[in-house]
Symmetry: C2
Subunit: 547 residues, 2 copies
């Protein structure tokens, strides 16, 4: 991250006020407000929440009417949050990536920008449903029975999910501060990026219309509220920055990603790809932004393949197969015993099987009996087994596997993989078509998330999932949702940029897009029905002869 | 009140938003905010409290995305409070005069300015102490035992007093709406004027430093909070306007009075006199304001005389004594059986006794045995009795009195009365001296409150309590504290004027003022040691001969 002046979400303001006397008998609060107002850098209104008045006046008085005011820097106003006798050594704040399956957080010092610690945790709402739709279902059980909903009705299911995620965040906070010398109550701000539904569930907002045409959330942009309003175990006046979203299926996590990628401030056109449950793609530069989301993700994030799993210890993340010697090498995350295969491992594996001519251009296992190359035929006989009447590939034999089981790649896994990669390519190509640009016009393609970190773009190109560009165009940017959240804690212009991104972005609905459907069909071959657009990918005659 | 355009504390805004569609899938809240922002008359920030979001979105949706937004018009921002399908027939709001002994309120329609009902009630905190000091004592019992007070510590005594006054206001509200067709929950705003201590007790603010030199309140000016933050039985988002105060002993009730008197907007110089527990006096015009408070009140409000009482049914409010026939006439409020004597009755009585030469220039009962006029001597023998070795005057004989008791005026009552009237005159004269003006420069003297309504200025002049001016200079303005509160409900410029008054006013501390002490001594005669400044008051030789 480029070093720049910190304009943090909570501004510490040194002030010294006149002491009370018979000549100046201003009230404590008025005295504090007057001294602060004289120093604040701009004329935005200064608000002093009623709930803070007694504590503020006492602290101000006890500090001898001089010290450091902590002022929350909200888009349209200043909010006086606290008063301290002197500037503390650190001003801790928390950035949180509120994922559907996983939470990631960092503790940041607002004075220096330094990351003090980081922690992660499974989203405990998983017990109420692995995906967003089942959680919305859970949170609207009672509400769905009503014709008209009371204006202030809160579904018990929603209350339960809200309580659950608040507890989960509080547990994560405890983990984050453990050993850091910071008390959770000293955390002065939180910024949070999550998809639209997770934000609704955390804030206790009714998610009923999110999954019903025309897919309207209650809230996309919401003003920062105070920590105590959500029951979070932070300082009670800590402001909560919720990354704004663009729609039901385009959440604040992606806005954070756009922010972190820097694309919205760049003269050159860039692309951002974030693969989660959906594949979300953004294209643009400082002048325009266009985005879409498509159901390209599941197979790539381990949600479909029977042996699929998230990128976690024991997941096969890297596979190589020598197309001459047929030596198969497999690497798991943390070198733990193999338990399954994650998205990047799957891409590696399927690409390797294609290059070794074990599968054909449709992704189907070729028939070992019709194989003319003796080495390949031997390898195929060794590795290909029949399960449930279908061919499958033994990635790891039973004896070596962590769970005692073998790791198998079945035909249905490859089929799902092919659909996913076709959807992904179709999404990218359709988006480029919308603005009449070619892939060659892109200065950079940022690939976010664990998927991006583990992905080998070469193999993804081989499969025809990503465009056939020079590998230097691709950049893995990590957890951009968390990075974006961190950025807004430290920079006012980043906070403003979030709002600008939301107002600037155009969302393209692909479910109703004819061009997308045509491109999707064309992309269901390896690398493509039109191989000329993937010049770097070799084509072999034997993979076509069986078609 | 002059009719003018209403710019009420809660602004109803008619709006019609685009309905959601696949083409415009803005979130409900964003849609509402956008439509409202486009209509609001100025660029103050628009705040939507987090606690209101669910209810607002549901109401907006249920109304078909069109209707009336109710927006609280706060000095530095708009706050969206509610959304209704259509403008109701009335928009009720409440104005409250929060007195130490008595509460008065009116229900006002914000759409028309019409007063819908009014009600009054004793301040139920009286059970914890009749005066402000004993209530501060009660509210700081635990806190006084501590060397350092926890920043958020709330004294149980304070909590009790707060709860007590909130219940009292809620009971008054119930009375106010009874039979009006309005539900307490429909009351959309409250404006409230009270002295600084009463405001602290209602808001749960620590009053500890109010009565300790240099007499610093926690708060003089406070931003409007929401009804729900105080537990008031109004609409939960109703904004509460608290009349700002100037200091511990110069409260919002007087600021409301200044507002209602119109003096702060006038080119001519006016004086405002408000007699409660203290006599509070303001002098000024649109360019300057000067004020002071002195302990002139008690005897005038019935707090000292043994038979003294507030102006309430059964209180003697009017007395006449024919100086020739010695016929004594007494009138009670509501013509109820006499129970005591209120401030104005006391002034009438003492003035009458002076004019009838029953008391001398020091206010002492003259000796009937040394009286030469036979009629007066007979009257004195009939009416003057000796109690506890002191002369006393029988105002009402036992048989006719409501409580079965007689109504007596004792020497100590007259002595207290003389001290009070001397203090009052000294306050007025000292204040005039501060700005180097004479009483003759005043265009008007407004006398506020029940005291002002019942007072006969002629008799007050006779006693030397008020300056000897043409009676047309005096104007009784009634409950100006309540009127001022009512005014801010309906007018933005009045709300602004309150803040301007506070920043403009100069407070003169009389307790440390030498001039005041000299003037006080000079005023302890009837009408004055220098009778030439009261040319209209007759002087009789026999009243001096006994001195």
């Amino acid at each position: 991250m480029v070093l720049r002046k910190i304009t943090s979400f909570v501004l510490p303001v040194h002030l010294t006020a006149e002491k009370p006397s018979l000549q100046d008998n201003s009230a404590d609060l008025d005295r504090l407000r007057r001294a602060l107002r004289a120093i604040l850098p701009d004329s935005r209104p200064l608000e002093i929440p009623f709930a803070r008045v007694v504590s503020l006046c006492r602290r101000f008085r006890q500090a001898g009417f001089a010290g450091v005011a902590l002022v929350n820097d909200l888009p349209e106003r200043w909010v006086l949050a606290d008063f301290l006798p002197e500037l503390p050594a650190m001003l801790p704040a928390m950035a949180l990536d509120l994922g559907t399956t996983h939470l990631e957080a960092t503790l940041v010092d607002l004075l220096t920008g330094r990351v003090l610690s980081s922690a992660g945790r499974e989203n405990s709402q998983i017990e109420y449903g692995a995906d967003i739709l089942s959680r919305i279902h859970q949170a609207t059980q009672e509400r769905r029975k009503m014709r008209e909903v009371d204006f202030s009705f809160i579904d018990p299911g929603l209350a339960l999910l809200q309580q659950n995620i608040v507890s989960c965040i509080n547990a994560l906070t405890a983990e984050l501060v453990a050993g850091s010398g910071v008390d959770a109550g000293d955390i002065r701000a939180l910024s949070l990026s999550g998809n639209t539904t997770m934000v609704h569930l955390l804030l206790g907002l009714d998610p009923f219309h999110i999954c019903r045409e025309p897919y309207i959330p209650m809230v996309n942009s919401i003003e920062p509220m105070e920590s105590r309003e959500l029951g979070l175990a932070l300082h009670e006046a800590a402001p909560i920055w919720i990354m704004p979203s663009v729609g039901s299926y385009f959440g604040g996590d992606l806005i954070a990603g756009i922010l972190a990628s820097g694309m919205a401030g760049s003269a050159q056109t860039r692309m951002l790809i974030d693969v989660g449950t959906n594949a979300e793609v953004v294209l643009g530069n400082r002048d325009w932004l266009i985005a879409c989301a498509g159901a390209a993700g599941p197979a790539l994030e381990g949600g479909v393949a029977r042996m699929g799993m998230r990128a976690a210890p024991g997941a096969i993340e890297y596979v190589s197969l020598d197309p001459v010697t047929y030596v198969l090498e497999v690497k798991t995350i943390d070198d733990a015993p193999a338990r399954g295969i994650c998205g990047s491992g799957l891409i590696d594996l399927v690409a390797a099987l294609y290059l070794a001519r074990i599968i054909d251009v449709r992704g189907k296992f070729r028939d070992p009996e019709r194989e003319s190359d003796p080495g390949r035929a031997a390898f195929m006989r060794e590795r290909l087994v029949v399960r449930d009447g279908q061919r499958a590939f033994v990635v790891v034999a039973p004896s070596a596997a962590g769970a005692g089981d073998e790791v198998l790649l079945e035909q249905i896994d490859i089929d799902a993989m092919i659909r996913s990669k076709a959807a992904m390519y179709a999404v990218l190509a359709t988006l480029m078509g919308q603005v009449d640009l070619d892939f060659g016009d892109l200065a950079e393609i940022c690939v976010a998330g664990a998927f991006g970190s583990h992905l080998n773009p070469r193999q993804a190109i081989t499969l025809g999932m990503l465009p056939d560009l020079d590998l230097s165009v691709y950049r893995a940017i990590g957890n951009s949702s968390l990075q974006g959240a961190q950025q807004v804690l430290l920079s006012r212009s980043s906070r403003q940029e979030c709002l600008d991104i939301v107002s600037k972005i155009t969302y393209v609905e692909l479910n109703v897009n004819q061009e997308f459907m045509i491109r999707f069909s064309g992309a269901r071959f390896i690398p493509h029905t039109d191989p000329s657009i993937f010049p770097s990918v070799p084509l072999f005659a034997e993979q076509k002869e069986d078609l």
